[in-house]
């Protein structure tokens, strides 16, 4: 799995990872490869595969943000026996499936 952490000049740390960090936790919920699903930001309208999100994985849950405007696209929280997936920042998710 390729990670492309960007450097946050403020904290001197790698602030976020790319959307491939969501592959594991999301594939627990979705049966298709989630990172290639296409979304569209409800804030700025830009389109991207989930793999392009900026993912803050050090928070209490996963936070995926729009690579263009930083709006929150998704939040994913995993407890020992449940998962919560909030996708309110994307207009829809498009999955490419076999015919």
């Amino acid at each position: 799995m390729a990670h492309h952490p960007d450097h946050d000049p403020g904290t001197g740390q790698y602030a976020y990872e790319d959307g491939n960090a969501l592959a594991g936790p999301l594939s627990e919920i979705l049966t298709v490869d989630p990172t290639s699903a296409l979304g569209r930001c409800t804030g700025c309208g830009s389109r991207w595969p989930l793999a392009h999100l900026h993912v803050y994985a050090q928070a209490p849950g996963y936070v995926g943000r729009c690579p263009d405007c930083d709006q929150v696209i998704l939040r994913l929280v995993r407890s020992p026996d449940k998962a919560w997936l909030d996708l309110r920042g994307t207009v829809a998710l498009t999955f490419r499936l076999g015919p």
Partner: protein, 218 residues
């Protein structure tokens, strides 16, 4: 509202139970101090891990403002100079993060919410705290009062660094640390509870570490 202010008194609230009186420990704790107690499921760390749900906002003190808005729309605000002019306290408190680390005897300086809310007239029972950067968190208003919460602007004897929520953050150490909103900019007083950023995505509405209220349903 009238609230008692224990100005300058050094207390820790890590072991405080809901509704009980504040008990001063009478000594200054140190990192690694074995007198402290861990809530269930927590481990002690001496680091201060940075957990962030987004980019770190860079907030200039010159443009900083804290606003309290009541359920009637009444607005009370303080700029940086006005906050600095208020009496401050130097609480030493234990922090408990829902990701299971606890840090004992952290030292802060800040203004008690009792001071900030003293002249605010409200019938609200709930608060929704807003941060620069868009983060929100909710808690009962009574958990902000009676010496339980501060707008903190110094930590460990230094100005609060941006990665820890500077220039100012909410400090409400008797609840899990996600309630202590970094980069605080406003408190909305509400008649009805409104879930915040993590509370609407699976985390517990209240978040008491001693009852291990991590997730909804705990």
């Amino acid at each position: 509202m009238r609230h008692v202010v224990n100005n300058g008194k050094e207390c820790t609230f890590g072991e405080r139970r809901h509704g009980m009186a504040i008990v001063s420990r009478g000594f200054r704790g140190r990192p690694g101090d074995t007198h402290h107690k861990l809530p269930p499921g927590q481990y002690e760390t001496t680091d201060f891990p940075v957990l962030s749900a987004g980019p770190t906002p860079r907030v200039d003190r010159d443009g900083w403002e804290l606003t309290v808005r009541t359920e009637t729309g009444a607005r009370h605000s303080w700029n940086w100079a006005q906050l600095m002019a208020l009496p401050s306290q130097t609480p030493t408190v234990d922090l408990h993060c829902v990701t299971k680390w606890s840090k004992f005897a952290t030292e802060w300086q800040g203004v008690s919410l009792d001071v900030l809310l003293e002249d605010v007239e409200t019938a609200a029972e709930f608060a929704l705290v807003h941060s620069y950067g868009g983060y929100t968190t909710n808690l009962p208003l009574e958990d902000l009062l009676d010496g339980q919460a501060w707008i903190a602007y110094r930590h460990d004897g230094e100005d609060l660094a941006p990665e820890h929520g500077g220039p100012a953050r909410l400090l409400v150490p008797h609840l899990y640390l996600w309630k202590s909103a970094k980069w605080v900019r406003g408190i909305q007083l509400l008649l009805e509870d409104e879930p915040g950023f993590w509370e609407s995505a699976g985390y517990h509405d209240y978040g008491d570490p001693w009852r291990e209220q991590r997730y909804q349903g705990d």
